[in-house]
């Protein structure tokens, strides 16, 4: 669901096809019949934006018909945990949970979502699942109206077809079998994207499909290292390894307060202090020892709101952002509401672009969207632009992390051409020059930059390369992996201040288990610790593809585990659920966990271990609690804390929808960010007759995102030369649009033109008695490159999902007419 795997992840899909040939059943649920649908056993067309009704009905079906995996659910999830008595559900409040504040359009008070706790602070449970406040019973009430009839009415899916999906899942889950769920941005790019994924995860937990071979919820991510740039983040709200960026909106003014509000007392996150101290040590060296880390902690910038890319573009439009770096990204065509994005670029004082080509974003000051590409007047645009040529991935060494958390190293094959350089070169030399420029400053605000450790020179220039000042990527990887700061036979105490190693001479740490909160270890990203455990052993570069789980091919964080939470592949007593699905189990003779993967559990903790009262850290996690990152060790069906739009997935219509919400008066996600005060961000009203058609966007195999890399390549351009829109013969006939002819697509934000692809791949759906048409649009075109076309993102709006600030490009409304733009 939410993925066209055959088209967007084409080389992963043969694995699915191979499984099908061995008897697996493949189901594709998507608004648009695609290459994936063509190879599925069952294709189910669905209205874009209605996923939670479809999934919620499956959840209800599992709960009401004993379709769930009882032993797994009772022992491994929080189904039995009791929620506070003052919790109110969307059934009680017509689409809202308790704690909602209409003034701020947010759940300002989430305390009622918490567990009931005993005097020790431990959650209260009812393993019989009968207590009315237990998660199991709350879910039964929450999903009571997500019926097959509702699926038919809201999703446009006949109930028999929906039932076929539910039955297939039940038949292929349990002790002997598992089912996998794949999704991609068809789910994430919605104003309730996180909750759709949650609904998928709840379904998989109820079916016992998490932490087991052949199961899981697989996010099919879209860029070579999009996973890596989330783990070692270039994201505003995160530090490395999923530690939060400190915020001034929380009591986080000191390191101690930050740890108290971000770490956890029980479960694996109780190691939080070791990870943040090691990060500060890696960044600030000796200065990270001052006030036991607090001085350097204070240098970290504190958030005061949403500083995401999309929220920042409005700040840019308002003139609050003056300088901008773009590294291989193209907001002028690739980001939502790209007309606004281009206007925002015009408000900058300066911009630095590092890319392979002159992208739409680099050229915004002298070119504009087709068909009138010359209708931009440079004499009115102040922005100073530096366009630097970048090295290609074959022209530098370094690592990518793929969608399954696998870190893979790349060799450098050749030098980049001319003045093109790696982004590593650029950032390293920018930092070096800035440190020189600030070297004599006495300002406290500059101390962080002055203290920043920044020694990454290659020991000797690479033989045969004409670039003599390229930094050493392996040395950076070593810092990410972590190292011992002092000789192991010395301690700070006793001998006085021990001699601290330089990054180059320091011994590598073997993994995150040895990281300390006392400043004796440095580590750039704890979850990557172990990737480079000793000199000469860069495990990201290991390339032995043998074995059942390929443990010697690349390195999967954390600790080279291929399946997370794999303790759940064994029953509470530690025995495999079945011989057929054997993966990790307790070896009673050796008193340890063993199996085909690296166990995701303390190696020697027996299955019958029960925490003593008052236990903290990992001691508080019992031997049968697989979800060790959670403070209660359980898989969370109900999320008591951490989400901004509710503890249970709830159906809301997209921000733009042809229909009213059939379940609640609350029409769309009450916590989403709508930017209603922005005149350029006009939304079509519910059922607006001027914009009656649902539109969804997607990728084609032959191009990549906004085409900034691929539309310069004749081979690929020959395969996919022009933007087209897919529409049904019924809609085409209604509007007089001819196959192969031109058509104009309009939304309240703008208009674009495309070739018409009239095809049965798009089917009109019956929604609540009315026919709803959907069209599909790829988004790979722009005004640069060797082939040009309209920018699909000129149609999309800025409504952001509340948890992660992602736009809603997968379900919005439009209108169509024959012809071209004037």
């Amino acid at each position: 669901m939410g993925s066209n795997m055959a088209e967007a992840h084409p080389v992963a899909f043969p694995n699915v096809v191979e499984a099908k040939e061995r008897g697996a059943k493949v189901i594709h649920i998507d608004p648009h019949f695609s290459r994936t649908s063509a190879l599925a056993n069952l294709y189910v067309p669905i209205r874009a934006g209605s996923d939670i009704v479809f999934l919620g009905a499956i959840i209800r079906h599992l709960l009401e018909n004993n379709g769930y995996f009882h032993d797994y659910v009772v022992h491994y999830t929080n189904a039995a945990t009791l929620v506070r008595e003052d919790y109110r559900d969307t059934e009680d409040l017509d689409g809202l949970f308790s704690g909602y504040d209409p003034a701020t359009e947010s759940y300002a008070d989430q305390s009622s979502w918490d567990y009931q706790r005993d005097a020790d602070g431990r959650p209260v449970t009812d393993p019989t699942l009968q207590h009315p406040q237990c998660v199991f019973q709350i879910m039964r009430r929450h999903y009571a109206r997500y019926t097959p009839e509702m699926v038919e009415q809201v999703c446009g899916v006949p109930r028999e077809q929906w039932m076929q999906v539910a039955q297939t899942l039940i038949e292929n889950s349990g002790r002997e079998r598992t089912s996998a769920l794949c999704y991609a941005v068809g789910w994430t790019q919605q104003s309730k994207g996180v909750q759709i994924i949650r609904a998928g995860a709840i379904m998989q937990l109820l079916l016992g499909n998490i932490g087991r071979p052949g199961g899981g919820v697989m996010a099919l991510r879209g860029h070579a290292s999009i996973q890596g740039s989330t783990d070692v983040p270039t994201l505003y709200e995160l530090l490395s390894g999923y530690m939060p960026q400190p915020s001034a909106l929380l009591p986080q003014q000191t390191l101690a307060d930050y740890i108290a509000t971000s770490g956890q007392k029980t479960g694996w996150w109780s190691n939080f202090p070791a990870y943040i101290r090691s990060l500060l040590k890696a960044w600030y060296g000796e200065a990270a020892d001052e006030e036991e880390g607090n001085t350097s902690y204070r240098w970290l910038p504190k958030n005061i709101g949403d500083h995401s890319h999309l929220a920042t573009s409005y700040e840019m439009l308002d003139g609050k952002v003056r300088g901008y770096f773009l590294f291989g990204q193209n907001p002028a065509a690739g980001s939502t509401h790209s007309t606004m994005q281009r206007e925002a670029l015009k408000q900058l004082d300066w911009m630095v672009v590092l890319d392979l080509y002159e992208t739409e974003s680099a050229a915004f000051w002298h070119r504009g969207p087709v068909p009138h590409t010359d209708a931009v007047d440079p004499s009115k645009i102040k922005t100073e632009v530096f366009l630097l040529p970048a090295a290609a991935s074959t022209e530098k060494e370094g690592s990518f992390t793929n969608t399954q958390r696998l870190i893979q190293w790349r060799d450098k094959a050749v030098d980049p051409p001319g003045d093109a350089r790696s982004d590593l070169w650029f950032v390293y030399h920018l930092g070096k020059r800035l440190k020189e420029l600030y070297a004599d400053s006495k300002e406290p605000r500059d101390r962080g930059l002055q203290a920043l450790t920044w020694e990454y020179e290659l020991e000797e220039p690479e033989p045969g390369s004409r670039i003599l000042d390229e930094p050493d990527a392996q040395l950076v990887l070593k810092e990410i992996n972590g190292y011992y700061v002092y000789p192991q036979d010395q301690t700070e105490m006793g001998t006085g201040k021990a001699h601290a190693y330089t990054l180059r001479e320091a011994p590598h740490v073997p993994g995150f288990a040895v990281l300390k909160a006392d400043g004796s270890t440095a580590c750039g990203s704890w979850i990557y610790s172990g990737v480079y455990p000793e000199p000469g052993n860069n495990r990201a570069a290991s390339r032995n593809g043998e074995g059942y789980t390929f443990l010697q091919w690349g390195y999967a964080w954390p600790a080279n585990r291929r399946i997370l939470y794999n303790r759940a592949s064994a029953d509470p007593q530690g025995r495999p659920w079945s011989e057929r699905k054997k993966y990790i189990w307790w070896d009673e003779e050796q008193k340890k966990w063993t199996g085909f993967d690296i166990p995701d559990f303390p190696l020697n903790k027996p299955p019958d271990y029960m925490p003593p009262p008052g236990a903290t850290g990992m001691d508080a996690i019992s031997g049968s609690d697989p979800f060790i990152m959670k403070p209660d060790g359980k898989g969370w069906l109900f999320v008591p804390t951490g989400l901004k739009d509710g503890p249970l997935p709830t159906h809301y219509e997209a921000a733009e929808s042809p229909v009213h919400n059939a379940l609640y008066h609350q029409q769309s996600n009450p916590a989403a960010k709508y930017y209603r005060d922005r005149p350029d961000n006009r939304l079509a009203a519910v059922g607006d007759e001027h914009y009656p058609i649902v539109v969804t966007t997607y990728r084609l195999t032959e191009h990549h995102v906004s085409g900034q890399m691929t539309r310069w390549m004749p081979w690929l351009n020959a395969l996919q030369p022009a933007l087209f829109a897919e529409l049904s013969p019924e809609l085409a006939a209604e509007r007089g649009i001819k196959h192969g002819g031109w058509m104009v697509i309009s939304s309240p934000r703008g208009e674009i033109e495309a070739r018409a692809m009239v095809t049965r791949r798009m089917r009109p759906l019956r929604i609540d008695g009315h026919v709803v048409h959907q069209i599909g649009l790829p988004f790979h075109w722009g005004y640069q490159g060797k082939i040009k076309g309209s920018i699909t993102n000129d149609l999309t709006h800025m409504v952001l999902e509340p948890n992660v600030s992602i736009e809603e490009a997968k379900a919005f409304t439009c209108n169509v007419r024959p012809g071209r733009l004037p």
Binding site: V11, S225, L235, E315, F325, E358, D419, A420, W454, T710
Partner: protein
């Protein structure tokens, strides 16, 4: 068939000799025989496809300092040597006449690019960063809360870059300069 049997013995012998020779000779000319796959004797470098997140392994072949071919790595348990159209075309992504080779600069209100040296550009960029940072840096909010940040400079990109590059970006821009809006495609 019968006629052949009736051939004189000498002739029969000659025919069989020719056939024997013929069976030994391959149907190639000397030129064809001397030809070899172009990747023979090329240097092999291991790489990973730069597009989607599946992580297909690439074999990059280099001769005389130039990339001559890129193919899928058959040893990889991820792609078993297979590549999609984009992956198969990575040669043209690397070796492409449209790629930029020099720094271009556009002055405010100007209608054209100017060619500049890399060193000049680096120095100019450093000056811009310092000026903007110093003018927009906030140490404390009016109510006294410490924030030590600048909202005046933003950075976008990272999902197409290396882990090591992302690491240094966050370290310098966030940890060194106090920038907050350091973002990438994970949100788009």
């Amino acid at each position: 068939m019968e006629e052949r049997i009736l051939l004189p013995v000498v002739v029969q012998s000659a025919v069989s000799q020719v056939m024997e020779i013929g069976s030994r000779v391959q149907p190639f000319s000397v030129e064809s025989r001397d030809k070899a796959p172009r990747i023979r004797d090329a240097q092999l470098f291991h790489s990973v496809c730069p597009y989607c997140a599946v992580g297909c392994s690439l074999n990059v072949y280099v001769k005389d300092g130039k990339v001559i071919d890129i193919e899928g790595n058959p040893d990889s348990p991820i792609n078993h040597g297979k590549l999609c159209p984009k992956g198969s075309a990575t040669f043209q992504y690397t070796v492409n006449p449209s790629r930029m080779r020099q720094v271009l600069y556009r002055a405010p209100y100007s209608d054209h690019w100017e060619l500049k040296s890399l060193d000049w550009a680096m120095e100019q960029i450093v000056q811009r960063v310092k000026k903007t940072r110093d003018e927009t840096f906030v140490e404390r909010l009016p109510d006294g809360r410490e924030v030590n940040h600048t909202l005046g400079i933003a950075c976008l990109g990272g999902a197409t870059l290396d882990i090591e590059e992302n690491y240094l970006m966050k370290k310098l821009f966030g940890g060194g300069l106090g920038m907050l809006s350091i973002e990438n495609q994970a949100r788009v």
